[in-house]
Symmetry: C2
Subunit: 688 residues, 2 copies
């Protein structure tokens, strides 16, 4: 009895410690808003606008943390008594005007309330999108159109599509509602009713344009289903039962929203607009006996998806998934064991709905230790006696969120490695955006189809995904420089050896913003952020290097309307001086914006960036030429980049890593499993 | 009792079935040679050369399978009674001449024995490299030099370095022996005795040049040790105990050297020169109810590493790790749990030594199911009622080998995905090649150092790694075409919409070899191999696409000697008509070769490649600017590429994947663990 009791007690102890830690945690200045704070914001804003009578006159489009000043956060880090003012940033729509409101949560008061006069419109709320589709489904002319097509109204589902900007002076708050026919399938996006144009005015919540065009094909439902329970044989291949298991519970701790794992410490927040935010990522330096700053703040700042069919009905299809739809707003609950492995811990996310009330997204984030079977470092020395072989297996920590923006599912990963690398990856899966056609075979296509015939009557339309990362690196302090290390070929002129050539490096510290705009792939170079004020013992400025992932040049004309708005894709790399108000690469209010407030317009100021607090913006892109394998659901395509320490440490920071104890598996009795404790095998552990 | 007996019986049954399968396996035409066959080859060659009296007059430099004709292999596949002639390819050195010998193993006879008259010299044997270093260690002038430096002879270790070709008419079979001082460290490569030049003539096995130059620094041992048992505190970070576990034993079967897993089937061989060879990779098509051909043969054909210090002592440092040293010859035993995860299965490799005798490399290969926590595909449909969410976790199969070529460790992975993708990756770790200097701080460096000061007195020399993959794809048959899908910007001229531009694709079937030479990154394009004779139901030629990994332009002058030999790095992509004799991108005999037999010279013939049996050659490269983190042992840098089905399947081939049963973990009693059966947790399972 005694031998089985011990692990059970340990499990209980573990759970207790966890609960204790969570309940005792103090609020961090970068914590996302709590449900109580969302409620407080709502009350303050509603009280300040007592005349508001109907729901649609005052709507909450965005509620999130108003970032405290960076120096205030660092001051708090050095002394937690220096609590920076805690503020919320609220975007409301009131009487057809957009308000940017700053609220002091400690003083429970409005700091400022400004009517936004720029070209863009605020992020869409889920509620108004729902209301608009309901409006259309109840709209008599639409019902008539459905009936005229012989379709069943109960199988019609609608979705919302932003319409961009095409040169008009002032844009109304309007979007398109496109409808789909779901009879016989859950894959609505593959069955568009492409021949009805419906515009909805959001401020007035009414159908502002309705056009029933010539009836076109709806692609058939057959072969579109993706639910296991609804598909027909043959099935396969069969996957083996395999899992990642962890002895001794999760290898990380979560105190409040601060994650500590291996040599890393960082803060994790969840935001309605950008989803996960990694802040204050610092790594412990064994030699300096302290944590050293790496990343002050990192997140996806925008995702721009221009479609490539310029014809009526499709030319407007260019989406800004963060600024228009919100990555946090579209975050979906993660499925234990499938979206995240068996050893994952899940965290809920909270957002404000259109009425300002807090809404929970269960399992919005997960954190897990990744053990992919990779090797951290190794060497066999066969030239020396004594069988010298040292191998360290790789383990990293992953933070994951999935945003399902309509048809597409974006898997967002942040991965921290003990070697100091920060990787970020995005996986693209979900359903294609398709246009119905009469073609059943590619041979029939004689004119430009703007996509691939992925199935009968179904064109998967060409498009791009350009994803921009905001990377406010503060390498060992906030004054950093952006350095190009150019690799240049030289002729050998030493006259002593027959070698004709070699390459060497020429370092170039970039002085101003315009010289920091880089299209990758044109010249061999390494790119890094260095701290010119801190040097290693052998004299190198400490730094971090960007190892780009797939990078892609924009193919639209730079003066085309979508590209003006998505100008952050004109270059892969940009560097700006830190400016609290420059947070999102396509600007603050993106829906129907005119591109007058973007990374391009900011950097046109050509501000100095040498030995300053600077921000790196990295744009990763993919041109998507659909193929049949993408039908009816796309196998994930992944890409990512890495920020890697480069002369940041005196030597390999994982040289002296303490390998895991090689205990036999499993090392825990079955009784322990249920606790999610010692052997975390049995699905979701929840920490919040 | 009955309940615990059952799994034990299942374990026993499983082991029995495995043994039965292995013992009953029939030889595959692409199997590597068996120990018995190596012995047979040795006897036949020795018998044919009875006058040979000393070991060094007749040496076996390479013994491997002489590939049967492709059509003969396919014929055998369709009817196993059609056994192609089984032949060995033997490269010997006999009386200072290189012989290419073909032996018929069935008839036990020599088919041909040709003296090779080209410029290159054969791959080095491990034995002659060992003999040369012993020779140097016993060489009196060398001992004097060591004494003159006040060094302890017992701490001196030597290694061999090929010296390339620099315009001489005929190259002798010579290499350099560089020596290192190991006092106080196992990291010999960081302590070069850089001031003694020693050449050894291999055919005569004598020191052919000896030059004791001005004495230079030897970098200190401090900080170079990497053995856990020999390092000093502080240690960290501590890694959590984490493992990948598999229920029901390995998810794949190995019958002979044929691996079956999920929807894949392929043959795996081990070769002295190139290491792992993946052959006859076919994927089961649910719709067509059959396996379909993808990759006839894939392997690393060459790895070229030019160093960038053009000065005396270093200008010759440009290595061809396959053609000079052999990836199979330098394969090291893999360490269970660290080199490959807990669920891996290990396979031994066999090679011929210099005397022709078979030598075993234990655990030369491992195979494991990778479960990295990734998502195969997913979609959440929040616009339809009923909580629609389907997620499939990613599992893939990995074949791994590690080649330690002196200082560098190369981790070679082949990864097969159920979605039809074949990925290949290479991880670079191990120790830098360094040059001693007097500098202790970067500030002291006033002249070109040709590298980074990675520690006091230690320059990590700039260099490249260019790795070339031989990819004989046979997409649904052997007649394939190479197709560029160019992405081109168009002006919108429809006059009906305000959109100014869009992009579309223009497909171009490449007719001849010269047009298939491609430097990636210059133009947006997709590259694929298509079978123009097989179409999908909607009319697309079936194909596979190359998704490149890191690609790198060569920086040496194209007429520089190392680059002439490593000309396969002039382009990232090449396509040739299948030719059994064109196997290795830098030619058959690479040591000191003059570059007259390479991928470049072959493709200069500009042969037709449209709708032919063609081979894709892909060169991946990395420019390595060392940094302090690479000292004293480099954290792994990884890269890779993907071959992805593109209109090969009618639809997503993992749409109907059968997910693993979600049994609770662990699902097996502790008693079962020891069998390595039902729950494969306890380290290496061995199948050969």
């Amino acid at each position: 009895m005694a031998s089985t009791l011990k692990p059970v007690l340990l499990c209980l102890l573990f759970s207790f410690v966890l609960i204790f830690r969570l309940s005792s945690s103090i609020q961090h200045p970068l914590d996302h808003l709590t449900p109580a704070e969302f409620n407080m914001v709502r009350t303050i804003v509603k009280n300040a606008n007592p005349s508001t009578t109907t729901t649609y006159n005052l709507t909450f489009q965005y509620v999130g943390l108003d970032d405290p000043d960076k120096q205030a956060v660092y001051l708090w880090q050095s002394n937690p008594e220096n609590i920076p003012p805690r503020r919320a940033h609220v975007v409301t729509r009131l009487n057809k005007q957009t308000h940017d409101i700053i609220i002091d949560l400690s003083k429970r008061s409005i700091v400022s309330d400004k009517v936004y006069e720029g070209s863009g419109l605020p992020i869409l709320s889920l509620d108004e999108q729902g209301a608009a589709t309901e409006l259309v489904l109840a709209y008599a002319p639409f019902k008539d159109s459905v009936e005229r097509r012989g379709l069943n109204m109960s199988d019609v589902v609608c979705s919302t599509f932003t319409i961009g900007w095409f040169g008009e002076k002032k844009s109304k708050r309007e979007f398109k509602v496109n409808c789909f026919y779901t009879e016989g399938t859950a894959n609505m996006f593959l069955r568009p009713i492409d021949d009805i144009k419906i515009l909805v005015d959001l401020d007035e919540m009414r159908v502002s344009q309705y056009l029933d065009r010539e009836i076109t094909t709806i692609p058939k439902a057959e072969g579109t289903e993706y639910r296991l329970s609804h598909m027909k044989p043959p099935f396969g291949p069969r996957m083996n039962n395999i899992a990642t298991v962890t002895a001794g519970g999760p290898g990380f701790t979560l105190e409040g929203n601060t994650v500590k794992w291996a040599n890393w410490e960082f803060h994790l927040a969840f935001d309605a607009r950008v989803g996960p935010i990694i802040s204050l990522a610092s790594i412990y330096d064994l030699e300096q006996h302290k944590y050293r700053r790496v990343l002050y703040r990192g997140y996806v700042s925008e995702l721009y998806v221009p479609y490539q069919d310029p014809r009526e009905g499709w030319y407007q299809m260019s989406f800004f998934d963060n600024g228009e739809y919100g990555f946090g707003l579209t975050a979906v609950p993660l499925e234990p064991l499938n979206d995240c492995p068996a050893n994952a811990v899940f965290i809920d996310g909270y957002l404000a709905n259109q009425d300002g009330l807090p809404v929970k997204t269960s399992n919005a984030l997960c954190i897990f230790e990744r053990h992919a079977g990779d090797i951290m470092w190794r060497h066999t020395e066969s030239q020396l006696p004594g069988d010298i072989r040292e191998v360290r297996p790789e383990v990293s920590l992953v933070v994951r969120m999935v945003a399902t923006v309509g048809n597409y599912d974006y898997i967002l990963d942040w991965e921290l490695k003990p070697s100091g690398s920060i990787k970020s990856g995005v996986g693209l899966t979900g359903v294609l955006e398709v246009r119905p056609v009469t073609y059943t075979n590619a041979d029939q296509i004689k004119e430009e189809a703007h996509g691939t015939l992925v199935a009968e009557n179904t064109i998967g339309v060409y498009h791009d995904h350009f994803i921009n990362y905001y990377l406010d690196l503060d390498i060992d302090g906030d004054a950093n420089s952006f350095v190009k290390t150019n690799l240049v070929t030289k002729n050998n002129t030493n006259g002593k050896t027959p070698r004709k050539s070699y390459w060497t490096v020429e370092k170039e510290t970039v002085k101003t913003e315009l010289d920091a705009r880089i299209l990758l792939g044109t010249k061999p170079m390494e790119l890094s952020l260095e701290n010119p004020n801190k040097k290693t013992k052998v004299g190198h400025p400490v730094g971090y290097r960007l190892l780009p992932g797939f990078f892609t040049v924009p193919l639209l004309a730079l003066d085309d309307y979508p590209q003006i708005r998505g100008a952050f894709s004109n270059y892969n790399v940009w560097v700006t001086p830190y400016n609290k108000s420059e947070k999102w690469a396509a600007g603050d209010h993106v829906d129907r914006s005119h591109g007058d407030d973007t990374l391009l317009t900011w950097t046109n100021k050509n501000r100095p960036i040498e030995n300053k607090d600077i921000v790196l913006w990295y744009t990763m892109g993919i041109h998507h030429v659909p193929c049949q394998e993408d039908f009816p659901l796309m196998p994930t395509v992944s890409g990512g980049f890495e920020l890697r320490p480069t002369n940041f440490f005196e030597y390999n920071p994982v040289l002296k890593v303490i390998p895991p104890e090689q205990v036999p598996w499993p090392n825990c009795t079955a009784k322990c499993v249920g606790f999610g404790g010692l052997l975390n095998l049995n699905g979701p552990v929840k920490l919040n």
